[in-house]
Amino acid sequence: MSSFLRGVWDNTYGLLVDDGQLAIGAIVALAITWIIAQYASDALRQGAGWLLLVMVIVLVIANVYRAGQNARRKLKRT
């Protein structure tokens, strides 16, 4: 039973998370957006969606850049 539940958990987790750092970064970006939408001034709140877009763009570029650096290190070792 525990192996079955572990399998269900692994599949569900794998469905949403491929790279832990990217998933955590996305959740942090969503949390910042939510906080701004709840507590910031009207003008800032209305632009919260665009802020989320900018954060996601930065996150994607930073994440794949890190992946590229890791790949380059692997290539140098081989």
Binding site: N11, D18, R45, V60, G68
Partner: protein, 255 residues
């Protein structure tokens, strides 16, 4: 519900489902052509039934019992996480860091494994049933997830998303049944790239709507967001190309 909302629900469900159905069909074909058709078809039918139950129960619960702004927040979060996962993998594949998805190779590997297991002609082929069930359920869970997310805006959107997925399934299965070979001509990697960008876009748009952000022109912002996500992906592929030595292909899983 207007035509635009229905198209928003049906189109990503159709494209994403087509990709997932191609992957599931490869495994079912491998089982059917090596071990006979009855067992894998029963496995696939049982998995389809399981998925229908998941979509019906979760979909109905989401549409009927959760307030719309909370629902948009939840769906936006899940779509963003799901979309970024697809997009990252697609970028790494196009940059040569992760191996491209190859249906022919998967088919050959699956056939070799199934032949190695052998089978008794007198007993029910449980291996065939289970392999087929697992493949369809695993790939179908992603389809179910996408259908539920894009259908969460209401009954009309849910119906459109379901029809999008069903249409993709019918087309893929019909073509696979006619050809009886893995559908290698389907540009899966490109489609995954597009789906990743679409899921990420809708995740950002709906989460923004859910928390009360205003998008200029409402849904008219979606093409702008999608364009920026696609440009970011293209820049990322180019950046990785510049980072690695020319012609280098790493094809490593954990980078």
């Amino acid at each position: 519900m207007d035509l635009g909302t229905l198209a928003i629900a049906a189109t990503p469900a159709f494209i994403a489902s087509a990709v997932e159905f191609v992957e599931a069909t490869t495994i079912v074909l491998a089982v059917g052509l090596t071990r006979g058709w009855r067992a894998p078809l029963v496995g696939a039918a049982l998995a389809a039934l399981t998925l229908a139950v998941i979509v019906a129960t979760l979909g109905v619960a989401l549409v009927n019992y959760i307030p719309e702004h909370v629902l948009l927040g939840i769906v936006g979060t899940l779509l963003l996480l799901f979309g970024l996962r697809w997009l990252r993998k697609a970028v790494l594949r196009f940059a040569g860091i992760v191996a491209l998805h190859d249906e022919e190779e998967i088919y050959r590997r699956e056939v070799a494994e199934l032949r190695a297991q052998g089978r008794s002609r007198r007993e029910w082929d449980w291996v065939g049933t289970v392999v087929s069930y697992k493949a369809v359920l695993l790939e179908g869970t992603e389809v179910a997830f996408i259908v539920i997310s894009f259908g969460a805006k209401g009954v009309g959107a849910m119906t459109a998303a379901i029809w999008g997925a069903v249409a993709a399934g019918v087309i893929v299965v019909a073509v696979a049944a006619a050809l009886r070979t893995p559908l290698t001509a389907v540009p899966e990697n490109l489609l995954k790239f597009i789906v990743g960008a679409m899921l990420t876009t809708f995740g950002i748009f709906w989460f923004g709507e859910g928390v009360g952000a205003e998008w200029p022109g409402d849904a008219a912002s979606i093409p702008v967001i999608l364009g920026l996500v696609l440009v970011t992906s293209w820049v990322s592929v180019k950046m990785l190309g510049a980072l690695l030595p020319e012609g280098a292909h790493v094809e490593a899983r954990n980078v």
